[in-house]
């Protein structure tokens, strides 16, 4: 088997033991490639555990810009975990490379003739160089990155620059880290033919892009969007959203004179209280949010129904993980679409936003507050673990300094004073289904009302009168139609060549779907494509489906939830919407999407229900 050869198009996977400090070393590799101008996609596959279990970190380098998961075997495996050795060597693509710590010889039954196997004496080098066990552990990771620099031709100056940036605050650590890099680099140069067939070459394909995780983007977006009150409960994989908010707010939001905080974060006793805090604060005129994951949304559902019916803004970031129930808490899925769309009993529906990149996560995190205030209803941003906890390549974050927060329809004391007619909290004065609201304490004698989850008339008074109840339910539906015109539009991604076939996707499925559609096009099958960014679906989504005879709906859950939502909202003939699904907990891959669509095109409807 001829060893693989590729410049700037391959997949490297690191196999480590979690809790050993490998994450920062692996990131060093990813960032080095990125700083050499090569687009990368980095995926952390980690266990729900703090220490001792296998963890993997996969970096896709792609000058072509394919930064989603590719699928197929790994081109270059760096195995630093004896526990997963057998599985790791088996996952190498034919012609690929396997680098391992050769403290013990590779068991004969695992050896493969179709790959290149390189033994790197990591433990031996560490034992020779370092006395302290802790240092041996830490530098082992840095040494293999050094070796990798020789093996795939990383610009060593870039690596050194990254180390210098990383330890800007602790400069005395720069020297020892660079030394460890050199140990690995020199060993590889002396003992192997460097570089391998796989190598990096500086290019200019990253432009002004950044590498950021989606949770950081959400936390920053909440600061920029003007959130002041946060109620939350810790849950993987959303917790770092709150960490970011708290840290960044502490850095940018302290009153210059008193040093006091222009924000408040409360870790609540559970998710019910977390969303209760958000609703109480929003009712009282502050911008407020919570971040959670699927199990949290399940618990918050009763309150979400209250906010829908009593018409209280609320912002919720759901970083989806693999369900059902506790599921796989550190694996990704797009499994909460239906849960969030219809959360709570009775006829309820909620505005959802689906970001695909950190930049979009930042934008939607801030936009969600404007939408929630304008529509006086909960708005949920549906991220997932893949976007949230991985460093994703993204356009840079931007903000328009002229932007004003849209606080929606709120009457001031002066407005109330000048009002001739009687104030009615739920009166549809403007015909958009949205009433005017007042904050508590606005005016001594005008504008007070009683907020309730029980049925109420236009003046917020309790009623059990069917006609009045129907009137308010119909007005809420009218508001839903207004929401359709305000949410982010769906993006047309490919158009004009697909004829009667199209594809729909959303969120983190985007990168892999784009690559798969490119491959299909190269093979002669063009599909039109649209990326959904919000629910309720704007008009263009309905038009896109109407314009095609067959639409592939690509998503990461078993039950084709977005497809169900489209069928339910538009009354589309289900036969028209073909399920293309992956839901194993790892990010969906381009190979998988390509193969499933190709098989459907070949076999027709028979494959429709094959996930």
């Amino acid at each position: 088997m001829k060893p693989l050869e590729s410049v700037n198009e391959f997949v490297v996977r690191f196999a480590n033991v979690n809790g050993t400090g490998s994450a920062s070393a692996n990131l060093l590799f990813a960032k080095a490639a990125f700083r050499m101008g090569i687009p990368i996609g980095a995926k952390n596959i980690f266990p729900s555990n703090i220490q001792g279990l296998p963890t993997w970190y996969e970096v896709r380098v792609s000058e072509k810009g394919y930064i989603g998961a590719r699928g197929g075997g790994v081109d270059l495996m760096i195995c630093v975990n004896a526990q997963s050795l057998a599985q790791d060597i088996a996952s190498v693509a034919p012609g690929g490379y396997f680098v391992y710590d050769d403290i013990k010889p590779l068991p004969a039954d695992l050896a493969r003739g179709d790959i290149t196997i390189l033994g790197l004496p990591l433990t031996e080098i560490c034992n020779r160089e370092y006395k302290e066990p802790r240092l041996r552990q830490l530098f082992k990771n840095v040494i293999y990155v050094g070796a990798l620099a020789a093996l795939v031709d990383i610009d060593f100056a870039v690596l050194k620059g990254l180390v210098a940036d990383q330890f800007e605050e602790k400069k005395k650590l720069i020297g020892p880290n660079v030394h460890a890099l050199e140990l690995g680099y020199n060993y590889a140069r002396e003992h192997f033919t460097c570089p391998l067939g796989l190598r990096l070459k500086a290019c200019d394909k990253t432009g002004d892009s950044i590498l950021l995780d989606g949770n950081t983007a959400l936390g920053l977006g909440a600061v920029y969007g003007g959130a002041t009150v946060v109620g939350w409960y810790p849950i993987t994989p959303s917790t770092s959203v709150i960490d970011t908010f708290r840290n960044y707010a502490a850095a940018t939001r302290q009153d210059p004179e008193t040093g006091k905080n222009n924000f408040a974060v409360v870790q609540a006793e559970d998710e019910l209280a977390a969303i209760g805090i958000v609703i109480g604060a929003s009712w009282n005129g502050a911008r407020s949010f919570t971040a959670t994951s699927g199990p949290g949304v399940s618990l918050m559902s009763e309150f979400l129904g209250l906010a829908y019916f009593a018409e209280i803004p609320a912002v919720l970031y759901n970083v989806q993980r693999c369900g059902p129930s506790t599921g796989m808490p550190t694996r990704t899925q797009q499994g909460d679409v239906l849960l969030c769309a219809y959360a709570s009993h009775g006829d309820t529906k909620h505005v959802l936003l689906f970001p695909s990149t950190p930049k979009e996560a930042f934008d939607f995190a801030a936009d969600a507050f404007d939408l929630a205030d304008r529509l006086q209803t909960p708005v949920m941003v549906l991220s997932d673990l893949d976007l949230g906890m991985n460093d994703n390549m993204s356009p840079p974050l931007t903000w328009d300094d002229n932007r004003k927060y849209d606080r929606g329809k709120v009457l001031t004391a002066e407005d109330l004073e000048n009002m001739k007619e009687k104030f009615g909290r739920y009166l549809d004065v403007d015909g958009d289904g949205i009433g005017w609201r007042t904050y508590p304490g606005t005016h001594p004698t005008k504008g007070s009302y009683f907020t309730r989850g029980t049925s109420h008339d236009s003046y917020a008074a309790y009623t059990e009168n069917s006609d009045i109840y129907l009137e308010s339910m119909h007005r809420l539906d009218k508001k839903w139609q207004t929401a359709r015109t305000l949410v982010p539009a769906a993006e047309t991604e490919r158009t004009g060549k697909g004829g009667k076939r199209g594809a729909l996707y959303y969120g983190t499925t985007m990168h892999a779907a784009r690559e798969a559609l490119d491959r299909l096009a190269a093979e002669g099958t063009e599909l039109d494509a649209m990326r959904l960014r919000a629910f309720p679906f704007p008009q263009e989504v309905e038009d896109f489906i109407a314009a095609h005879d067959e639409v592939f709906v690509i998503e990461q859950n078993r039950d084709a939830q977005m497809r169900s939502l489209l069928i339910n909202e538009f009354g589309v003939n289900p036969d028209k919407l073909v399920k293309i699904l992956y839901y194993g907990g790892k990010p969906i891959t381009a190979h998988d999407i390509h193969d499933k669509i190709a098989r459907h095109l070949k076999d027709g409807k028979r494959s429709q229900h094959v996930a």
């Binding site: 109620g231 222009n262 409360v266 977390a274 209760g276 309150f303 904050y439």
Partner: protein
Amino acid sequence: MSYIIPRFRHPCTVPNDIGYTRQDYEGALSTLCAGCGHDSISAALVQACYEMSVAPHLVAKLSGIGCSSKTPAYFLRQSHGFNSVHGRMPSVATGAYLANRDLTYLGVSGDGDTASIGLGQFAHVMRRNLNMLYIIENNGCYGLTKGQDSATADVGSKTKHGQANVFSPIDPAGLALNIGATFVARSFSGDKAQLVPLIKAGLHHPGFALIDVISPCVTFNNIPASTKSYTYTREHMTAADVVDFVPAAAKYGADGAIDVKMPDGATVKLRRLPDHHDPRNRAAAAAAVLAAQERGEVLTGLIYIDTGRPDLHAMLETTETPLRALDEKALCPGARALDAVNRNAR
């Protein structure tokens, strides 16, 4: 439905210091059963707020679900009210208080709302020392679903259906002391003379103030075999302290009472009973509650007070300006700050 609202007003109705008459503190017509203890509590709230010259629009009324939680509609009609979901009023109050620290927060809950479905939120709102008055209208039963036992029902206490409760009761006041609530009181809906000053003191307390008000359910639980009936409560009540609340400006003479100074100069005036505790001593307060329980008595009055503890805003070191009043200028770091964020992410 109890009564029609009487049109007749006492000729002596006079405006208070800020120009409001007592009528201005009233609300919609109560839809609770005639004779319900809860209506007496609403009346006590009206009286207390009127006498204290509280501006009604600067009060936010919050409640959960149940008979008790309906009552905020029946007083302070110029206040915003929020009838939320069952057992979750404390979290809504927490958010509301964080949004605007300048309003007065009044929560009304029941024994089911507080001690069963909402026990967790009740416990945690006390840990946060949220600056609010939290009133439990405690009748030992579920009224709206027709008389089931609640978690505050005493062992052996019987409902109208004749079954004796076999489960250990939760005493909200005892629990509050254990968790560290800074104002713990108990009263009786039939004793307005005690309840009104307690409400005033609770509204004034700079932290979480709990008043557990025994409020008999006339329809489902006012029978001799119930320990939350009018008869039982009247016969077994023992007042820890008789309370008066003296605003900062008022003068009063020395009469052997314990005076608890509020941080703003107001005073809660308590008469010490010989065999009882000092309400500033938490351990003694807890012991007194337990001792009364063992004697089968209901200890009422101000059981414990500590005005020196930081409330939630102080603990979180939030700014003095209500958070909801901050605009883009105070909240948004601006485009330039993102340059550094982007730079660090390359």
